[in-house]
Amino acid sequence: MRIDRRAASFGLLFLVGALTGSPANAQEIDFTGEWRPIYHEDGPERIPGPDLGDYAGIPINDAARLRADSYSPERIIAVTENGCRQHSADYSMRGLANLRIMRELDPVTQQAVAFHSRIGFHTMDRTIYLDGRPHPGPQAPHTWQGFSTAQWKGNQLEITTTHLKENYHRRNGIPSGPNRTFTERWVRHGDVLTVVTIVDDPEMLTERFVRSQSWMLDPGQRTFANPCEYGGESTYEPGTVPSYLPGANPFINEFADRWGLPRSGARGGAATMYPEFRLNMEKPSATPEKCTLYCTCMNNGAVCPDGP
């Protein structure tokens, strides 16, 4: 058998070019898998949950602060309709975020047309479209997980999400508005996935709110289903909405005082996001002698010698 080496090389070059030169394929990263959350960032907020009155580091406006000050945790029991409420997509990755990601491929081109994710807690299913479709118009319904589209930025996936329901920036009553949008960057470094979340909330924030969280690939993980239907029964009169009147919440300073933090810092606002805040903040109310809560042990349930 005789082969023309020049023609064969030419064809081979095309084949190599096809495999390596197609822009979309060259940039696609596969995020498929079971991902175990790592709580090395913001552990106390994410696992036991944030303290009441802890607004530190969130660029809230006066409206959001008043709403948070008015929030009573009794509402969790009294407003039974919210018993099964999901975290919205911009908050869902902060909590018990065992995450499964699936990739959907176009059967012909084998290019990714969507990622589907599930976070086990309250079965937070989400679709992120990669097929260039537009976002719905203003009359379309809002959902907890919103409407997400994405495009590749180098080897990062940049996701834009709109049509979110009203929810919370921190689950201690800091509200998030129904007209907010957020941008994500998904970045994979080997077996570590990092997601950076940037929220724009015209009703509740004065600046963009940036957070990050990471996961470790864990093929043995089982991401569970968590269906939920509320019973609608409580000891409260129907229609009761527990809240504190302005200035009447007795727990506002509890967080700052427990940790010996300046109260102004705990009240949040854009200034508390930046290091310069420390230069002008007032003196802490007190300095605890010893750490007794959430000291070093928020990392994935390790036993803490000094307390929970």
Partner: protein, 333 residues
């Protein structure tokens, strides 16, 4: 192998190149969303009518003046509210784009001008339900008795409408039941809510509630005490609405809610709305108990944390008007 076969090798490479380089196809497999979100809904143009499929044969027509629900079956079309009348030809064209069946019923959720302005023209475009040869050939308007009276005897600040648009069918009990287009339809009266003639309209089979201005996700309720309305009745009405809505699971989907204005909703938004009204009532009640005047209450901004979502500093119903209406009701001895 000879040279004649080399072009095939090249062609195969080119084919592979083409296959791998082609952009993602539009006909991708269906997504697995729990709650269907239409892919494309036109942006709201103040001079246009946007059509949003809701469920089964039920659609939401959105105009700058408010939402209109359109439901149809073999026996004709039932619409809920008719807009303010300025876009009626376009509303009619939108309905004709969905079905050529005659308009049989126009149900009104209240007698407010922005929801009844198209009654007469749309009624004339229809025919009575089940009576295609009757005279006159107009659709039947249905509303609560209180709304009917206010349409026939409008207050000085209300725009009168042609009598063709007045209700032909009224009710004065708690609920009026109809069966139309393959579904039970219930008009649920909510007393002394925004006015004394408000109805929630429940389409049972498609599981959709049309609320009129009892609920809108983007504005405070326009409470009309001079027309028999009250904050207390409005909150009671929203709680009644919550009794009618059932989420599919995880507090999402299930019963869909077509509000008086704004986007298609479900129970989630109604809960936020009820909570907002209840909290604001509590705050203003407390300020009144402290002896604050209306001016002092307005200065205290008891709605500050909700104004970004529901408030307005201009237009026919401002935040100041809302707080004033609430104050006057709660300050009554």
């Amino acid at each position: 192998m000879n040279k004649n076969r080399h072009p095939s090798f090249l062609a195969l490479s080119l084919l592979l190149t083409a296959m791998l380089a082609v952009p993602a196809m539009a006909g991708a497999p269906a997504p697995r969303d729990r709650m269907k979100v239409p892919n494309v809904v036109p942006a709201l143009d103040p001079n246009e009518v946007a059509v949003l499929p809701v469920r089964d044969n039920l659609y939401m027509l959105t105009t700058a003046a408010g939402n209109i629900a359109v439901h149809f079956g073999v026996s004709g079309v039932m619409i809920v509210d008719s807009g303010d009348g300025t876009l009626t030809p376009k509303v009619l064209a939108a309905i004709r784009g969905l079905t050529d069946r005659p308009i049989a019923y126009i149900v009104n959720t209240s007698a407010e001008a922005e929801h009844i302005g198209g009654n007469a023209e749309l009624a004339r475009a229809g025919s009575p339900p089940g009576l295609p040869d009757s005279d006159p050939q107009i659709a039947h308007v249905v509303a609560h008795e209180g709304a009917s009276i206010r349409m026939q005897k409008p207050s000085p600040d209300q725009k009168a409408i042609d009598s063709t648009g007045w209700p032909f069918v009224t009710y004065f009990v708690d609920t009026l039941e109809l069966y139309f287009g393959g579904t039970p339809v219930q008009l649920v009266h909510v007393p002394a809510a925004r006015t004394d003639g408000d109805s929630l309209v429940v389409f049972r089979r498609p599981d959709v509630v049309v609320t009129g201005d009892i609920f809108s996700p983007d504005r405070y309720p326009v409470i009309r005490p001079e027309r028999g309305g009250s904050l207390k009745g409005t909150i009671d009405a929203v709680n009644r609405l919550l009794d009618l809505t059932v989420p599919e699971d995880l507090q999402e989907g299930g019963t869909l809610v077509i509000p008086g204005h704004g986007r298609l909703c479900d129970e989630g938004e109604v809960v936020e709305y009820r909570d907002m009204l209840t909290v604001i009532r509590s705050r203003i009640s407390d300020l009144i108990a402290q002896g604050k005047t209306l001016e002092q209450v307005l200065a205290a901004r008891p709605t500050l944390d909700y104004d970004g979502i529901y408030g307005s500093t201009q237009g026919p119903w401002t935040t100041t008007q809302f707080v004033t209406a609430v104050y006057r009701e709660l300050a009554k001895p």
